[in-house]
């Protein structure tokens, strides 16, 4: 009997098994798998994939708490004071300002993630289409772009290419990273178009990348490459670009009219989110000035000293919002929450002076960043195309590279081109400090200041509410969180 039963016990499940499948196939209903991509014969697929890789670069560049933020706040041009209960945020922005950041700051980790996410996406794409020569070439130059930021901010980062298929990569030296970027561009630049492509790489934007790399070569490797920097800048200057007569055309919401922008991140409020400058800098009630559809955060302000350094005749001084503020209908804005201690009272007035870094910075204190147009009716996301490279900077690069090689006349000529466009008198003679100052005026809010300060040896100097900082601060630390994820990483010296 028992024997008979046990046979049944086995039989019934066995019968059932025949009808069912024990190797289960997981279906994907609302996404596509790498196999789907590989098997697709859609003619536009490659273009879309390439654009998707670019969109990783567009990503979070222009938002709060990422690479733009740490570069700006660590420099002497911007600050986020703690305004009472606002913006304390665990003290991160005070620490970044004072060059006392730790190895576990969110924003620093986000910057690393941002760069390497793009690198991962690009590598996956190169692996997927190894035979499409022009695509692979462009992607390799595109991959050098986040490396350009990584070498500048972190220095000794691991080089990860489509061929790095081992486990966790270890650091490369800054020299190796330098060589990798240079080779990536030089080996592939001939495949890039020479037309003005603006939102994708072309020959000139690749030269602009080289110019930036060479300009900072001494910082990155110890060996200056001024002549190469000048040569690359000259290649760009010879291209189809000219200085926009209206400086602010380069930063307008519709800046496709700019004759100067070489490579931009094409932010779009609907399609490509990530540029949040209006939120980041404006006081809450300034919402009514631009009829914004979201309430701003009252954070980023310019530093008083930096602002006051501008010549009053400099048209670029309009890159700041200063003084009494008005609604779009012309009425005076009132800040109902203004502190009793605020000499301006409730009427909203942006003053260059910031009463204190913390804890009770006045809500209205500090001039604000108005370089980029805030479109009327915009929301949290702006539609401006953010210029990563534009001719104005390249001309200053040429001026500096030439000057450092002793070619004073060429340097002065280049510098004066930029000054005159800004409505200033040309200089009669040129000094390194003049070049430094001019770069500051020209490149405010374009995430260039920290790099410039380091190159000019000014980054460790004290400024408002910041003491002397040690030279190891010229690199950000490898984020602790990244070292946890990848134990093969070695921390930068000093941290």
């Amino acid at each position: 009997m028992l024997k008979y039963i046990s046979k049944i016990c086995l039989l019934v499940p066995a019968l059932f098994l025949l009808g069912s499948c024990w190797e289960l196939e997981q279906e994907v209903l609302d996404g596509v798998t790498p196999e789907d991509v590989a098997n697709s014969n859609n003619p536009q697929l490659i273009e879309v994939l390439k654009a998707s890789a670019y969109s990783r670069i567009v990503g979070s560049w222009g938002g709060h708490n990422g690479i733009w933020s740490i570069n700006e706040i660590a420099s002497d041009e911007m600050v986020i004071p703690q305004r009472g209960p606002d913006w304390e945020d665990g003290g991160i922005w005070l620490r970044v300002h004072k060059h006392e950041w730790t190895t576990s700051e969110d924003a620093i980790n986000n910057s690393w993630d941002y760069c390497f996410t793009a690198i991962g996406e690009i590598n996956n794409l190169i692996i997927g289409f190894p035979d499409v020569e022009a695509l692979v070439a462009e992607l390799k130059v595109l991959r050098a772009l986040p490396y350009l930021w990584l070498i500048d901010s972190f220095g000794n980062v691991p080089i990860v290419t489509e061929e790095s298929l081992g486990g966790n990569p270890a650091n490369n030296t800054r020299q190796e990273v330098f060589d990798f970027i240079e080779r990536s561009i030089l080996d592939n630049i001939e495949f890039l178009p020479k037309e003005d492509t603006r939102t994708t790489l072309n020959y000139y934007s690749a030269q602009a990348m080289l110019a930036k790399l060479y300009l900072n070569a001494e910082v990155y490797t110890g060996t200056p490459r001024w002549a190469d920097a000048e040569a690359a800048a000259n290649e760009v200057i010879a291209g189809p670009y000219s200085l926009s007569s209206n400086f602010f055309a380069n930063f307008a919401t519709r800046n496709s009219g700019s004759t100067e922008n070489i490579l931009t991140l094409p932010y779009d409020e609907n399609n490509a989110a990530g540029l949040n400058l209006a939120m980041m800098t404006l006081h809450t009630v300034s919402q009514a000035t631009f009829d914004l559809t979201a309430q701003p955060w009252n954070g980023y302000a310019s530093m008083e000293e930096f602002y006051n350094n501008y010549d009053d005749a400099d048209v670029r001084k309009d890159a700041f919002l200063e003084g009494p503020q008005f609604a779009s209908d012309g009425s005076r804005l009132l800040d109902q929450a203004a502190e009793a201690a605020d000499p301006d009272g409730q009427p909203l007035t942006y003053t260059p002076e910031i009463n204190m870094l913390f804890p009770n910075g006045l809500r209205q204190a500090g001039v604000r960043i108005g370089k980029f147009e805030f479109a009327s009716g915009a929301g949290q996301e702006l539609s401006n195309d953010y210029p990563l490279f534009r001719l104005g900077e390249i001309i200053l690069t040429k001026a500096e590279a030439a000057f450092r090689q002793g070619k004073t006349a060429e340097a002065l000529d280049a510098l004066n081109q930029v000054r005159m466009r800004a409505g200033l008198e040309p200089l009669a003679s040129i000094t390194l400090d003049a070049i430094y100052d001019e770069r500051g005026f020209e490149m405010f809010a374009e995430a260039s200041r920290r790099t410039d300060m380091i190159r000019f040896g000014k980054f460790g100097q004290p400024w408002w509410e910041k003491g002397t900082s040690q030279s190891f601060r010229e690199l950000f630390p490898i984020p602790l969180s990244q070292i946890n994820r990848n134990p093969n990483l070695t921390q930068n010296p000093g941290y």
């Binding site: 798998t33 536009q44 409020e269 559809t293 946890n484 990848n486």
Partner: protein, 994 residues
């Protein structure tokens, strides 16, 4: 089923006895006849055993409950017994025809415990299983089955902070054991695995059985890691030919309670607050006592081999804020029919539920507490009429008139769920039964969200916005089992079970959101919203499905009611794991012995030590984690020219890093326990100690983006986290429960019971797998303003899960500024933990004549809460002139801007009079009315605690911290949008018709 078999067994035994008796029968002096009756039902009992005491001679009653027995000299006493009744001895004396009334054995009837794929006698159970019966359920307006059990089962933690009628309950058995798909226990409703609690109304529940340890849950394999709750709905009237109609109806009043003290308008102005010249009690304006009502009606009955139960349950619960409500209509039909002499049994259970929910933006609770008390509600200026619909609004960051917020945003949802299950059982042999069951659990939710054109928070900026969403879920299960019972040798009884199952789950949904309306038409006309791309708009849909196949078996042995042994194994194959890791095997063994059957244990009527070991698994939170799925990227315009639209596509990016090696997480649990009864089971109880080790825990860990994906060789990480089998956790605990039955105090019968749990909090043993390894993971920031970048919970290897870390407040300067131990986040100290050291429940039932009184205390101790209200709104800093401040007895004079520190972590141990009920049963002589009961109940009458926030209830998860994964890792945070606590009073009447 088990009961049936037992009856059958008894019947067979009786037949055998008759046969034997006839064999040994010799010349008799006389015969005694009789009838065995159930006096309460007035019916005869067929199949009852009638034995002559001290002999093996006896008989069984026939279908009419009659028996006839030949007597020999010296036969003096009959022993009559039947399952479910107390055995009775009768002196024969000179009687020739005896009527014996058997008394129902309440204890015994309760002893069949549902254990998954069947029932088992309580005495045979060797794992940690707790059965809860309706008389022990929580009282009052209980609309969710989980609430019935709150505090009743040691180790089962059920929480719902605040009194939101739309909020679900968080349920955790023996603490957190996974971050995978199911951190709440698996619900098995009438045999349907994974059914939604929406499908059952509390009023229809006959019993709830909680499978606590690994060995009991292992029969549910992959889904059993978080424990199993088996719910059985009222099946039938146990006796033939009767119809039972019952109606239960009650009304409930809710009122807000335990509001945090704030400054009055005068105090606020005196302190320097901005004076708008009015005086408004915002909380008074927002909240109001609410009235809810509920009616349950059911009909049940049975005749021959048919049993049925039909019920309808209507609940209309109103929140204490206008615009918050939950209206629920549930209908159930359970039907079973026997055929072929009841060898074939067919069963159909149908349940349909509609739930309509209305909610407000819970930020209204925060602003009602801290909005400027001198501000008026309304503003009749032209500008305010045009922009804000006549409400007062101040142009201050993140600051909204709470009355306007509650009225100008609206959120509704309607859920329609249907659970249908069909089951057939066939007795191939009297002790061999095959069964097949198919069930479909289907639910559809349609939601609508609305932001008025004049809503200052969202709608004004969007010029009116609305959204429609649907979410559909279907789960289909087919199961087949074979069950075999055998007495192997004398005294050794064996039950075998084998089965196969297959389950598929599909989820899909879609949503659309638009903005810029001319009129506030809301979701009823999305076409009237002009803008359909960009911020505050959306068009999206999703779909996924998965499949799980199972094969399982179990063997139970009972040796002379002295030794018990059980072993089971379940193999599961899940589609969502890596190709080579789809199948997991989950074994369990348990054994126990009732020492009172072996030795004379004096006072003890039961003394059953038991030990068990079981392995369970868990499913991942999404079925596609092993695959490299591309999702939507930015929209890309290939030529960059906005005028040409035929080259615009949505790009694709790899939104998750695939893990092709993803495999089963396993939880191995050892449980040792003791079931005991003293003084003839007047006092019964149990205690359990468990240790569980969770390994290969499914964990979403940070990985380095851009680096090669070690779980998908040849490709690269494109996001900064991957689901991997990473961590090891260890947890342990001790549980104790004891109840006394029918203690007489004069004419009063008292039935107290106590349970408590001591948790050895979950420890993180490791956060490493291969090259990946972490010392800690930080989560949960307090929020805006100013506390956005400082995580306050660090999960560290070697430490307990969910520890608070922060600076220690060492004192204040003369100016009232903090003196903090450090500002360096890496030097923060452990300053608390949100999970409790212990929980307890203490229930009391008193019966006096027709009166009954019950009250139930429960509590938790040793847990901390971050009091967000104090953490943001008690300092007299510069900004406190704009918003009101909370003033608790822990509020010091502080002028610093709020910064997280140890003073905001409060001990939240509490004791609560959770519910009490006073009822009276009227005696009725009506031929139609069986019983009439009137009752009054109160819930949440008082709480004793030192906590100064809204609700000291344990926070198992964090409502504002990302996905279900990180929210489980950050317990103990009371957020500012917490719905206020409520106190409820209920008056009801229950009628039972014949």
């Amino acid at each position: 089923m088990r009961n049936y078999l037992l009856k059958l067994k008894t019947f067979l035994l009786a037949l055998a006895l008759i046969f034997c008796a006839n064999l040994v029968a010799n010349a008799q002096s006389r015969t005694v006849t009789g009838t065995v009756m159930d006096p309460i039902l007035g019916e005869s009992i067929p199949g009852a055993t009638v034995l002559i005491k001290g002999t093996t001679r006896g008989t069984a009653t026939d279908l009419d409950g009659k028996f006839s027995l030949d007597l020999q000299a010296g036969d003096e006493v009959l022993v009559i017994s039947f399952i479910g009744y107390l055995p009775q001895e009768v002196e024969i004396g000179n009687q020739t025809n005896i009527t014996i009334n058997l008394e129902e054995d309440i204890q015994s009837l309760e002893e069949a415990v549902v254990i998954g794929y069947g029932t088992q006698d309580k005495k045979e159970i060797t794992s940690a299983v707790v059965a809860v019966k309706p008389e022990d359920f929580n009282k009052g307006n209980v609309s969710n089955p989980a609430q019935l059990l709150q505090g009743k089962v040691a180790g089962l933690s059920i929480t719902r902070p605040g009194g939101n009628p739309n909020a679900g309950f968080n349920v955790r058995l023996r603490g957190l054991s996974t971050f995978g798909a199911n951190s709440s226990p698996l619900i098995v409703l009438d045999g349907v695995i994974g059914a939604s609690l929406d499908n059952v109304d509390p009023n229809d529940i006959q019993s709830i059985d909680v499978l606590k340890d690994g060995s009991a849950a292992a029969i549910y394999g992959a889904r059993g890691s978080s424990g199993v709750i088996l719910i059985t709905t009222t099946k039938k009237n146990p006796k033939d030919g009767r119809v039972n109609v019952s109606v239960n109806s009650f009304g409930t009043m809710d009122q807000a309670t335990n509001l945090i003290p704030i400054l009055s308008p005068e105090e606020f102005v005196e302190r320097g607050g901005t004076d708008y010249g009015s005086a408004t009690d915002w909380r008074d304006e927002l909240i109001d006592d609410s009235f809810s009502y509920t009616t349950n009606a059911s009909v049940s009955g049975g005749f021959n081999n048919t049993n049925y139960m039909a019920s309808v349950n209507y609940r209309n619960n109103q929140g204490i804020v206008n615009g918050v409500s939950n209206e629920r209509l549930n209908t159930r039909i359970n039907l079973s029919q026997g055929a072929l002499d009841n060898r074939l049994r067919l069963n159909v259970n149908l349940s349909f539920t509609n739930v309509d929910r209305e909610s407000i933006n819970n930020d209204a609770f925060r602003f009602a507490t801290l909005y400027n008390p001198t501000a008026p509600i309304y503003d009749d200026s032209q500008a305010a009429l045009e922009r804000f619909g006549g409400y007062f609004q101040a142009d201050v960051l993140d600051f909204f008139n709470p009355v306007a917020l509650a009225n100008q945003q609206k959120f509704v949802g309607e859920t329609k769920s249907a659970l249908t299950s069909y089951r057939a059982e066939f007795d191939l042999l009297p002790n061999l039964t095959i069964s097949a069951q198919y069930s479909q659990d289907r639910s559809n939710t349609l939601s609508g969200d609305f932001w008025s054109k004049q809503d200052y928070q969202v709608g004004l900026n969007a010029d009116g916005s609305a959204q429609r969403r649907t979410n559909d879920r279907v789960q289909k299960i087919f199961e087949s089992t074979l069950r075999y019972e055998l007495d192997l040798t004398d005294g050794l009884n064996m039950t075998l079970l084998g089965g196969v199952a297959t389950q598929s789950t599909e989820n899909q949904g879609f949503n659309a959101r638009v903005k810029q309306y001319l009129f506030d038409l809301g979701w009823d006309n999305l076409g009237a919203g002009a803008i359909r791309v960009g911020a505050n708009t959306e068009v999206a849909s999703y779909a996924n499905q998965d499949q799980l196949n199972s094969l399982f078996g179990r063997a139970n042995f009972n040796l002379n009611n002295q030794f018990f042994f059980s072993a089971s194994v379940r193999a599961e194959t899940y589609s969502g794991f890596g190709e080579n890791n789809q199948t997991g095997v989950f074994p369990a063994v348990s054994l126990g012995s009732d020492f009172t059957q072996l030795f004379d244990m004096g006072l003890f009527s039961q003394f059953k030590p038991r030990a068990s070991f079981g392995v369970t698994g868990n499913l991942p939170p999404s079925p596609t984690l092993a695959l490299g799925v591309y999702g939507n990227g930015n929209r890309v315009d290939l030529d960059g020219d906005p005028l040409t639209q035929n080259d615009v596509y949505v790009g694709i990016v790899q939104n998750s890093n695939p893990n092709k090696e993803l495999k089963w997480e396993t939880k191995a649990e050892i449980n040792v326990g003791l079931d005991f009864g003293v003084w003839n089971n007047k006092l019964t109880g149990s205690m359990d100690y468990y240790i569980r080790n969770i390994s290969d825990l499914l964990f979403n860990v940070p990985v380095a983006p851009g680096t090669p994906n070690v779980f998908d060789p040849g490709r690269f990480n494109t996001v900064s986290s991957t689901w991997v089998n990473l961590a090891d956790l260890r947890a342990a605990g001790f549980e104790f429960a004891v109840s006394a039955h029918d203690i007489s105090l004069g004419g009063i019968k008292w039935h107290p019971s106590v349970n408590f749990t001591l948790y050895d909090k979950t420890t993180i043993e490791s956060l490493s797998a291969g090259d990946l390894g972490f010392d800690e993971l930080r989560f949960a920031t307090p929020g805006s303003p100013g506390q956005n970048n400082n995580p306050i919970i660090y999960n560290r290897v070697g430490q307990t899960l969910g520890d608070f870390y922060g600076p220690v407040l060492e004192g204040f300067t003369d100016g009232g500024e903090y003196i903090l131990s450090t500002t360096d986040p890496d030097k923060f100290e452990k300053i608390g933990n949100g999970l409790p050291k212990g929980e307890f429940g203490f229930a009391n039932n008193f019966v006096y004549g027709g009166w009954n009184l019950s009250f139930f205390f429960r509590g938790a101790w040793g847990h901390d809460l971050f009091n967000s209200y104090r953490g943001f709104y008690e300092n007299q800093d510069a900004i406190s002139n704009t918003w009101n401040s909370v003033v608790t007895d822990k509020t010091p004079f502080v002028t610093s801007s709020p910064t997280f520190n140890s003073s905001y972590i409060e001990d939240a141990s509490f004791i609560r009079l959770d519910n009490m009920e006073l009822g009276y049963n009227f005696t009725t002589r009506s031929p139609n009315l069986n019983s009439l009961r009137v009752y009054f109940a109160a819930q949440n009458l008082f709480t004793i605690t030192n906590y100064t926030g809204i609700d000291p209830e344990v926070r198992i998860t964090d409502a504002e911290n990302g996905n279900g994964f990180t929210s489980s890792l950050s317990p103990g945070i009371e957020r500012r949008s917490t719905y206020f606590q409520t106190r409820s009073f209920t008056l009801g009447v229950a009628l039972n018709f014949k």
